[in-house]
Amino acid sequence: MAQVKMTVNGKAASGEVEGRTLLAHFLRDDLGLTGTHIGCDTSQCGACVVHVNGEAVKACSMLALEAEGAEVSTIEGQANADGSLNVIQQAFQDHHGLQCGFCTPGMVMSTAALLKDNPKPSEAEIRHYLDGNICRCTGYHNIVKAIMAASGQDTGQIAAE
């Protein structure tokens, strides 16, 4: 067991972990941040996406010890300071971009990373970027639409609700 320290959603966090403990498990089991989900064991589903030092990372593909000293943000830290939904979260609700909600934290975190680098992505760029985020419920239509809306693009031409 080893000591690990990091900043999570702006607060200092620490714990004792085994060398093999994944960041996803540390967040969920040690810090109780269960919004980061685990949907696979081959690093493909994206349910576990968090930001580490500002970059989107699959928390199942990183050891907790590798995040030593890092700034980590998770879905629990995304809402506005007053607790209201941020622009991306609100767009997902407005456009019904989630059903069971299991992929949703990863989708929101990936979207935030995408829009940081590409503030107005095209439909094709969004679909390509989401290659590492699997959703089994929505058929992606409303996720893509929500991301276009969150980036201030007109979604009026996209087939009706």
Partner: protein
């Protein structure tokens, strides 16, 4: 004008806020003080004699609490099957025992052999590696037709063969059907495979067992679509725990699609082990485990024939299907290829004579059960591929051949024992022609051809049957459960209310939709209504959510309970207003006396019910809480027409979905936004089946597609924006909301449209191949177009199950 609340409004989903902020409460988020973790050691061979399981070394490993093997479960019941099918000869199906942990034999890769309970999951896994398992491998049976041959290795030694049942439907029609084929002017024949799939909800299954010595209460937290059904099956048939001593909780459920209906060994194990170890026991499936332990779906091999007269009227249909059951009978497995499949074989057409034969077969594979649509996608796929093939053989327009044979008068009794109450198949087909922009197809085809691509248009119709019922009928058909639903409406003194429904949501947004209905009935704001589901301690009884039954059956129970509430509230209001009960009207949350300006608010009536100072105590009891059970008199029959446009690269065989249009008739719609979302999700799963998903075993019974590296899950870049419409509405005539259900339609209706479109594209390139099996991977398409020989070299290089390469 879109409404901004109540029935017909696209109310935003109230559940979204918790899911979007990480505050959802899924089963894996539940951790109980003192819990231990279980790791299942699973068979890595498909078939073998289990000689010895030596746990002696593992017992002494760090953190191990206890190790269980099959011997620990000898006194425990078998995992039960919930449906008994009777075969063509009147005999019951063959039903093998299904142990919690393997005993004597292993019968599929993934079958649990031993379970290690330890302080941490890591310790449990480490100890499992020290267990020595001695298995004498036996030849495995994987192919269904091989499995039913004389002398095939038997999956279950105590059964007479690998044939579970040989079902004929309707057996009495068989001779008449054969004669119609003898007399036919044209017969179209098609042999096809409905590919095996894995449901893959993004949340893997989880079970947490807990036991309280102080009051002898068991609790199971589980990822289930129907916690009450699990309570009954596990309590009564496996562990012998009476229902009042067993609570089953399914909190937020991260998708199900059928695969979380069934009662699984891991649930029984965690409940059993919590008492045996005297501490909570938790199991979380990994994705790799899910592939070899979640029930799979589909896997039918079918020959279907259509007889037509000289005027192209359908005169008879005959089918011959082999349906894979896997190694054991999962909860509803026997009903899927029979009553959920044979009864749908009329589709949208007035074919007077139909005979369906289904042979259900045991193989050394994971059990197969219901997956989104369950039986109905298989029926729709064969029928709609067959009709398309017939149209091309006869040289007529596939749409017009369908139209000519449509059922147009309702109610309509099919020759396969069901009666459609309503529908308008011409209306949905006309709507499809409009929203798919069929008129613009030729121009789009020219654009594709200018790029060196082929373009195809394919369509199909579908009919679904939702809310399987009534209970007394399904009992005769072999169901070992009732198929009603219950709801309790509890009104509080200050006017807010809670609906406790036996339906459960695994992404469908019931908290929103169900609130809309009750709020509209009473005329109060949706925020005054809360929905409680998924907990047997809170909801009196429930059959859960599957088969698109929630609004049609659960919603109807809720309406009936709310009607009882309103009736009692009117009595109270008539007392408060000193008027006759028959003159009381409820509108916009207030009770008034007809023709006067006298009224009393909803909140005053509810307060009077609990503070009965001025109250007709001699006539009615205080309080305002009502329960209703609703047992439907018939199924509901959503229907529709779907169209797909594909582009095909003749050099690589790669197919892309360019457009997809769905025109559905779901009867009345409560929340159009949610209904559209359900169709989108269904379409993605149906297109996924047609284009890329495939669950493949090798001949030794090893699962080749056992992770997201090998099982092609549809990604955002594989799918287009869909064009979805549900403005054609013929309300259901036998439930109070006039609703039909929408959850499975997309998955039922889309695969044939995709395959029909791919074949159309090939035809436009001069290749009429007649049929191609799903999934239409580049390798298969290329082989179909260029000949099998040329393909052999190519497949050898890239693998036939590979995900299509992105461009």
């Amino acid at each position: 004008m879109p409404k901004d609340g109540g029935i017909g409004a696209s109310s935003k989903r109230r559940e979204d806020v918790r899911f979007l902020t990480g505050a959802g409460n899924y089963t894996d988020d539940i951790n109980i003080r003192g819990q231990a973790h279980v790791f299942f050691l699973r068979s890595d061979v498909a078939h073998g004699t289990l000689n010895n399981v030596d746990t002696s070394e593992a017992e002494g490993m760090p953190g191990v609490v206890r190790i269980f093997t099959g011997a620990d479960f000898e006194a425990v019941g078998s995992i039960p099957c919930g449906w008994q099918v009777t075969d063509r000869h009147g005999d019951p199906m063959q039903e093998p025992r299904h142990p919690v942990l393997a005993h004597g034999k292993v019968r599929h890769v993934g079958e649990p052999i031993a379970a290690v309970v330890a302080e941490t999951l890591g310790q449990a896994r480490d100890a499992a590696e020290a267990i020595v398992v001695e298995i004498d491998e036996l030849p495995a049976v994987i192919d269904m037709k091989e499995a039913v041959k004389d002398g095939a290795p038997k999956v279950h030694d105590d059964l007479t063969s690998n044939l579970c049942y040989d079902w004929g439907f309707v057996e009495e029609n068989k001779d008449a059907v054969n004669k119609a084929f003898d007399d036919a002017a044209h017969v179209t024949t098609l042999e096809l495979v409905n590919n095996r799939l894995v449901a893959n909800p993004m949340e893997p299954r989880v079970a947490v067992g807990d036991y309280s010595r102080s009051d002898d209460q068991h609790t199971l937290y589980t990822t289930s679509q129907n916690p009450h059904v699990i309570r009954l099956l596990m309590g009564a048939f496996v562990l012998g725990i009476p229902e009042h001593k067993l609570r089953v909780v399914a909190p937020d459920v991260g998708g199900g699609f059928g695969t979380k209906i069934f009662h699984y060994q891991e649930e029984a194990f965690c409940t059993f082990a919590a008492k045996a170890c005297n501490r909570p026991v938790k199991w979380t499936s990994s994705r790799s485990e899910a592939f070899i332990s979640d029930a799979h779906g589909r896997d039918h091999v079918t020959k279907i024939e259509l007889a037509l007269d000289g005027d192209n009227n359908f005169t008879a249909i005959r089918t011959d299907t082999y349906a894979n059951m896997g190694a054991y009978l999962s909860t509803f497995a026997p009903s899927v290829p029979t009553w959920l499949h044979g009864t749908l074989m009329a589709g949208n057409y007035k074919t007077p004579l139909i005979y369906v034969n289904v042979k259900a077969v045991f193989t050394n594979t994971v059990p197969v059960d219901a997956y989104r649509g369950a039986g109905r996608p298989e029926a729709t796929y064969q029928l709609e591929r067959l009709v398309d093939k017939a149209a091309h053989e006869l040289g007529v327009d596939p749409m017009e051949l369908r139209r000519q044979n449509f059922i147009t008068e309702f109610p309509y009794a099919t020759p396969v024992a069901v009666e459609y109450d309503t529908g308008d198949y011409n209306a949905t087909l006309d709507k499809l022609i409009e929203i798919s922009d069929k008129a613009g197809f030729e121009a789009r085809r020219k654009e594709s051809e200018a790029k060196g691509k082929l373009r195809g248009f394919g369509m199909n119709c579908y009919i679904e049957a939702c809310g399987i019922a009534p209970s007394n009928l399904v009992g005769q058909l072999g169901a070992r459960a009732g198929l009603y639903e219950s709801a309790t409406v509890r009104v509080n003194a200050t006017g807010g209310l809670v609906v406790m429904t036996g339906s459960h949501s695994h992404g469908q947004g019931h908290e929103t939709t169900f609130s809309q209905v009750v709020a509209e009935m009473i005329g109060i704001d949706e925020s005054m209504v809360d929905i409680v589901h998924g907990d047997t301690a809170k909801v009196p009884m429930g059959m859960g959510t599957y088969g698109s039954r929630s609004i049609a059956v659960g919603g109807s129970a809720m309406v009936r309970a709310t009607e009882k509430i309103i009736a009692k509230a009117k009595k109270i209001a008539s007392h408060l207003l000193e008027a006759s009960e028959s003159d009381i009207e409820l509108k916009d949350g207030a009770f008034s006396v007809a023709g006067t300006d006298k009224s009393v608010a909803w909140g005053d009536v509810t307060l009077a019910a609990y503070v009965p100072h001025n109250y007709p105590l001699e006539d009615i009891e205080p309080g305002l809480e009502e329960t209703a059970f609703y047992d439907p008199s018939n199924f509901t029959y959503p229907s529709g027409a779907y169209a797909c446009e594909v582009e095909l690269d003749p050099d690589t065989g790669h197919v892309t979905i360019e457009r997809f249009a769905a025109a559905d008739d779901f009867g009345n719609v409560i929340n159009p936004m949610i209904v559209t979302g359900q169709v989108h999700g269904g379409l993605a799963q149906g297109i996924g089946q047609a284009l890329m998903e495939n669950c493949a075993y090798d001949s030794d019974g090893q699962l080749l597609s056992a992770s997201y590296m090998d099982y092609a899950m549809p990604r955002a870049s594989d799918l287009p924006f869909y064009s979805v419409d549900h403005s054609c509405q013929t309300p259901c005539t036998h439930n109070p909301l006039g609703v039909k259900g929408c959850g499975e339609a997309g998955a039922i209706g889309s695969p044939p449209a995709v395959v029909n479109a791919v074949l159309d594209a090939m035809r436009s390139g001069g290749k009429d191949v007649g049929h191609i099996d799903m999934p239409v991977t580049p390798a298969r398409v290329w082989a179909a177009m260029h000949g099998a020989e040329a393909n052999a070299a190519r497949v050898g290089a890239v693998g036939s199950n590979a995900k299509p390469q992105p461009e």
